[in-house]
């Protein structure tokens, strides 16, 4: 009782958010039942026919379902890792810039690609990566004597292309959160280190890096929520029949079979499957962080 008396403001602070979550997130979760229905819009949630796991069967019984799920996992796992490492590293380098103007200039420019949509970027990549006089292949052949590489049409290169282009697009935006973390570091730490004669390198290792690490862990863990979203817009604009084998992902499959046909039950089932996998991974990393570093991610 005493405990509560002291802490009631804490509950009150959470309450508004909680109400919003209940209304706009938890109430609609009733719709998860659609995953087990042959959902027909005119029958609604209450009257649609129950089909058990039929919708899940459609996903798993396809000859290519293992391939598609595997593609999704590989592409998104690499994206998650690199979209963490790249901004993290970039923030470290940017942190070494002493001229404030130059720092802001670079910061602003690298943040721009985030605002380009994949429809536009897809067209640009098609030209830049073309084997037929594309800019990149021209450089590769004239500078390094490399035969033109079919970046978008070769199964060995497609994933690489997808991941690198995604990292290029997002690293500037991703840097922001780390820069904010850096601005939270107490400058007296650096002053003390400098007085002790620590080199810049040592300062980076012992002060800068550790101060960014918690945020990196948080961002990384929350990104696991997207482990089965390999980036629909990007893949949809870049893939083609030559790279279906390595490039077709769950979301493009959902688009072709569930969305275009209005098969809402199937869409819900696949959504639920993705959510469960993500949740399991999040729980695991939460536990690991708590066990190993005694750190609660959230």
């Amino acid at each position: 009782m005493n405990h509560f008396k002291r802490n009631w403001p804490l509950h009150v602070m959470i309450l508004p958010s909680l109400l919003f979550l209940i209304i706009f997130n938890y109430l609609p979760m009733a719709g998860i039942v659609m995953a087990f229905q042959n959902f027909k819009p005119w029958l609604g949630l209450a009257h649609s026919e129950w089909v058990g796991l039929e919708n899940f069967r459609t996903l798993f019984e396809r000859q290519d379902s293992v391939e598609v799920i595997w593609n999704t996992l590989i592409i998104s796992a690499l994206k998650i890792v690199l979209n963490l490492v790249a901004p993290f590293t970039f923030a470290l380098f940017l942190n070494e810039v002493r001229k404030a103007f130059f720092k802001r200039f670079v910061q602003t420019l690298v943040y721009l690609p985030h605002f380009l949509s994949w429809v536009i970027l897809g067209g640009i990549l098609l030209d830049v990566l073309s084997t037929d006089g594309g800019f990149l292949n021209q450089i590769l052949s004239s500078w390094f004597g490399i035969e033109p590489i079919f970046f978008l049409g070769d199964n060995n290169w497609f994933r690489f292309t997808v991941i690198v282009s995604d990292v290029w697009k997002e690293f500037g935006f991703g840097t922001i959160v780390f820069l904010a973390a850096l601005s939270n570091v107490n400058p007296s730490l650096y002053e003390a280190a400098e007085v002790d004669g620590a080199s810049r390198w040592k300062q980076t290792i012992h002060i800068t890096l550790p101060s960014m690490l918690p945020i990196a862990v948080v961002v990384g863990t929350l990104a696991l929520g997207n482990i089965l979203n390999a980036g629909f817009d990007q893949i949809f604009n870049l893939y083609n029949p030559l790279v279906y084998q390595k490039g077709d992902i769950i979301d493009t499959f959902v688009y072709r079979t569930a969305i275009l046909n209005g098969e809402m039950g199937l869409g819900a089932a696949i959504g639920l499957f993705k959510s469960i996998i993500s949740m399991v991974l999040i729980i695991i990393s939460y536990r690991l962080a708590y066990k190993l570093a005694n750190y609660r991610i959230f």
């Binding site: 309450l15 609604g44 098609l126 084997t131 209005g262």
Partner: protein, 563 residues
Amino acid sequence: MKAYTKKALTLACSLVLISTIFTGCSSSKEETTSDSGKVTSDTSKNENAYKDKYDPPVTLTTVWGVDPELKFKNEETIENNVATKWAKDTLGVDIKSLWSVTDTNNAFATKLRLAMSSGQEMPDVVTIGDANLAQDLINSGMFQDAGALFDKYASEEWKKAMAQDPNVWNPYTVDGKRMGIPVLDYAYNHDYLLWIRQDWLDKLGLATPKTMDELETIMDAFKNKNPDGLKPDEVIPLSIGFKTTMNTWMGDPSWVFGAYGTIPQQWNKSADGKLEYGSINPAMKQGLQKLTEWFNKGYIPKEAALWDENKTSEPAVAGKAGILPGPYWMSGWPLVDTVKNVKTAVWKPIALPTGPDGKAGRHGTLFTNGVTLIKKDIEHPEALFTYQNYMFKNLANSQPGGVFDNGLFKGYDYDMDANGKALRYDDIPGGYVNSLRYLLVRDGARDPGAQMKALLNLADGKEATTRLEKEVKLNYGLQTPAAAKVLMSQEGIAYPNMYTGPTTSTMKSKMDYLNKIENQTFNEIIYGKQSIEAFDKFVETWKSSGGEQVTTEVNDWYSKLSK
């Protein structure tokens, strides 16, 4: 303690809300059924309700998926504009919009399905392009036997237009009942021919190609002895793409298969009268071999597998492509822009070349592009017919001196200068807006054969007298009539897609995979990653992975139809 009470309270609240959601749905359903009882008696009272003008006005509700390109002027909206005002004043039909949505990213279908799921009021009349959505609405049981109403109320003009192709009803026929009225479109709109750089042909002194062999000679000359002095690497003799499909509207390769006797990715009538999936016909093999050969010789784009339709037009507009397959109207767009980039460029339409057995083929176009559904038990279904009969009389078959002689609404889709001469569409003060799209049934009314007839008349040098002729002459690309003539010279070679029924259950579960392996195999053969023998293996896999089942279902539907 209190915190827990609070939590319990919110939980209780949410439970209540959940239950209202469900009960809300079902109760609204009950309402509609009880309503319908009342209305039916009304309808029977108004047995001969059809009028040319209703006074007082009657109301029809509808919903709109607005084409993103559709423009408005004078502060109008789709709900309230020159067309709705006209309908109320002239016919006494008050068009009331329940909602509208700009139809990008599938928004119209999604919104209509959501409206259905949440028990919202359905429109009295709705026009739909998306076949799956139409099927959903028909299955919902909320719409009525439109065919019966059509027989009862439709005018002779409309019935005659509809009769030009008896197959137009097929997609919407359920157990012998015609559940929706097909929206007619101009025939041959997507039938294609080849556009060729006539100036290149002339400079090389070559004749128009008639066969595939002659075409090859020409492509070789375009590439290796280019008249514009382009290096072989820079020329794309034939601009085609296969990114999503091999059966499309521009940059389409399906005629290559047509020359050997099949059209891929659609259902063709086979020799035994049954329907057959074009992509598994043995003739595909020869077509694929031809494409492989052309690919290796550099006649088609190196990255054809990555190219969609719009991409295939880029080199054509840039003046680097020699041949581009596409519809007859392409001289208006995009080819008209080529001269802005290459002054000497001249595009001419030519007929599709024939294969070794003298065959040629292309995909056909359906005479319809959508369907109009009528809700059960509405008060004035006949008002729709008043509206459409008027359109078929005055718009589809407009005669010189008629109401819509020059167009639909002055200052919108047409206008006159001071001398009473019609202005070109881009000269209309305040800008051209396609007010035909404001009409209750999209595009108002089209007589399938009318457009071609107008074009052929113009091609034969006749004076433009009817609305369509005038419009075509004024607004379409210079080569359009000639292209129409070329197209009609090969009228018999079109393979229409014979299956227009609903997505069957096996199609739902298997067709996406089958399409995927098909695209994959065909592209890999052309790119030399698999030998041509892979085609036989594909056919086997296709049949055993559900294709056989789909074929049976398709033929079941077809046999029921022909009865």
